[in-house]
């Protein structure tokens, strides 16, 4: 097991252009599940590939287990990587696929079978060993790729969007399996994804990236509840955080913290947790002109714009539990409110978090 560290790591693909990865410095914890989260083109995969040794950094250092590995080839870094496409070797059976790293690294042949069976057993693919990759389903392929990664007991796991090729249902179960797997192996893992749900569910910490830069590093709760800038605020959460601007400041609040005043007064049936969390005031009353509403089964998403006051006309979204059956007529103005302690303030020019200030809403 080992700690991965990057120091001022930069990768520029084309001279004179903005780097795919810009001055990234981060350190994993021992045995941590660290997630790189960002939209496509944010540099997360490039960063991972540099850690793997598949891309050469333009500048900066990579350390694995305390020593600089910049000059080491991938095979010397004691890492294992699972690729987005799984990259199973098509001409080899599952057994040979899993045994491949052992063979390539010169592990004595008599140990192969034992190790392969251990890895296959851990992932429940013992009965597939004689098949070829093309005869496997997506989930089975993913497990073979994982088995191939663990078989030589690497210091670090690198996973590059391993779930993105699975259908939604399989993805949920594979996610759970990966979590359990990490729990039992306990190896430091770096996981790249663009899916915030995966990141929130699996990550011990999340590294949110955009345009090759780290925007925030923190636990799922930290990045969700206390986003460091407007990018993180809007990238995490579905629907994203409401951002309304005025003068030099942008005010943000989560859609789930924005609900009808009647809820506060206890006049409508609302779920207990929500009431408990938001019982404390003071509240900012906001008039909402309702645009349209989406009913999503477990929740209702109400789209509209602020009516009156300095923020008049700004589009905002409210996310309500569908146990709240209060009807909203489209076009009508309803009294909504948001708790003051749930307001986040961002500097308009930099997008960075600033100190709370009082804002006139009326």
């Amino acid at each position: 097991m080992a700690i991965v560290e990057t120091r001022h790591l930069t990768k520029v693909f084309k001279q004179g252009e903005l780097g795919a990865v810009n001055d990234v410095s981060l350190t994993t914890h021992e045995g941590e599940f660290l997630v790189f989260l960002g939209p496509s083109g944010s540099g997360k995969t490039t960063l991972l590939r540099m850690i793997a040794g598949l891309e050469t950094p333009t500048s900066g250092e990579i350390l694995i287990g305390g020593s600089v590995v910049n000059r080491l080839s991938p095979r010397e870094r004691r890492i294992a990587m699972v690729f987005q496409s799984y990259a199973l070797y098509p001409h080899l059976t599952v057994y040979k696929n899993i045994a491949f790293p052992l063979k390539a690294q010169g592990v004595p042949k008599d140990q192969h079978r034992k190790k392969v069976e251990w890895a296959a057993g851990l992932l429940g693919i013992g009965r597939l060993l004689e098949r070829k990759p093309r005869e496997l389903s997506g989930g089975e392929r993913q497990r073979v790729a994982l088995a191939r990664a663990i078989v030589r007991e690497p210091a670090v796991f690198l996973l590059d969007e391993p779930l993105s090729n699975l259908d939604a249902k399989l993805r949920a179960s594979a996610r759970e399996e990966l979590e359990r797997f990490h729990g039992s192996v306990g190896t430091t893992t770096i996981y790249v994804t663009h899916d915030q749900v995966e990141a929130m569910a699996m990550g011990d910490r999340i590294v949110v990236m955009n345009f090759g830069e780290v925007r925030q590093i923190g636990t799922p709760a930290e990045v969700y509840d206390e986003p460091a800038d407007t990018f993180v605020a809007t990238f995490l959460g579905s629907p994203p955080m409401n951002l309304v601007e005025r003068d030099e400041v942008i005010v943000g609040f989560r859609p789930e913290h924005f609900f009808p005043v009647s809820v506060l007064a206890g006049r409508a049936a609302i779920p207990e947790p929500m009431r408990a969390a938001d019982r404390e005031g003071p509240y900012v009353p906001v008039g909402l002109r309702v645009g349209h509403e989406e009913y999503l089964g477990a929740e209702r998403i109400v789209y509209g714009s602020i009516e009156g006051g300095p923020f008049h006309g700004k589009t905002v979204v409210s996310r309500l539990a569908s146990t709240l059956t209060l009807p909203f007529d489209a076009g009508g103005v309803h009294a909504f409110a948001v708790s003051e302690r749930h307001l986040k303030f961002y500097d308009r020019s930099s997008g960075k978090r600033t100190t709370p200030r009082s804002v006139a809403w009326r």
Binding site: Y86, Y89, P90, F100, A104, R134
Partner: protein, 250 residues
């Protein structure tokens, strides 16, 4: 071809006879003529030797070149590949005059090694182009995975790329070999001694004397020369059309 090889000459030349059956008893006369009165066996041997050497040279140069062009040079690789392919389009009838100077300069005239020198100039460009197509269809992640798993880049190339593109490599082998057996212009211009002829030139030169065509022997020669290639083609047919990489990546 099969029937004509074993027909008696009288049978062959009688216009009223049905050409698709033996009107007179079949004969081995033409085969015997081919093997005793001409140096057909020697020609076959020359062709096989030149073919083998050319195939080896082609593979040694085209496989790494195609790999490098697909993988390492980015956007220019593709253009360079096309440029190389374009050289293949220059017809031998244009090139044989300058090339004969080269051959003479190297003292290779009348030697089969003149052909060993010249043929790769036709086989390599086409093979590079063909192999580039195969290598491009191999996902890069496979090599990345192999390198993370403990191979060097060269190791990944040998153990991943080559086995997966085996059908492409076989195609190159057969293409190069076929080209050697059927090429005419260079083989005709660079080599005159009877003993050093290739089968494709020796047969028409020595079995067509003036306006006398030894049809039976000609057909027999063609049949024998084309059999091995026909067999090889059929053996590897499934390899050519098999979707070999299906299932490795999604």
């Amino acid at each position: 071809m099969l029937i004509a090889s074993f027909k008696q000459n009288i049978d062959l030349y009688t216009v009223e006879n049905n050409p698709f059956k033996f009107n007179l008893p079949p004969t081995l006369e033409h085969i015997r003529f081919l093997f005793t009165q001409t140096r057909f066996v020697r020609w076959l041997g020359n062709t096989a030797l030149v073919g083998a050497i050319v195939v080896v040279i082609t593979l040694l140069l085209a496989v790494p070149a195609a790999y490098a062009l697909t993988r390492l040079t980015g956007r220019w690789g593709q253009r360079l590949g096309i440029a190389i392919f374009l050289t293949y389009l220059i017809p031998p009838t244009l090139l044989f005059i300058p090339l004969s100077r080269v051959v003479a300069l190297l003292g290779l005239q009348d030697s089969i090694y003149s052909l060993v020198l010249v043929y790769p100039s036709m086989t390599i460009p086409f093979s590079i182009w063909l192999l580039m197509g195969f290598f491009k269809s191999i996902p890069r992640e496979l090599e990345d995975a192999a390198m993370v798993d403990g191979l060097t880049r060269f190791g990944a190339f040998l153990k991943m790329v080559v086995p997966i593109s085996v059908s492409g490599i076989l195609t190159v082998v057969i293409f190069s070999f076929t080209l050697v057996t059927q090429e005419f212009v260079y083989a005709l211009t660079f080599i005159s001694p009877e003993a050093n002829q290739m089968v494709g030139v020796g047969v028409p030169i020595f079995l067509v004397r003036g306006d006398v065509y030894y049809w039976g022997a000609l057909m027999a020669a063609c049949l024998i020369a084309s059999l091995p290639i026909g067999i090889v083609y059929n053996l590897f047919l499934d390899r050519f059309i098999s979707g070999f990489t299906v299932g490795s990546v999604k």
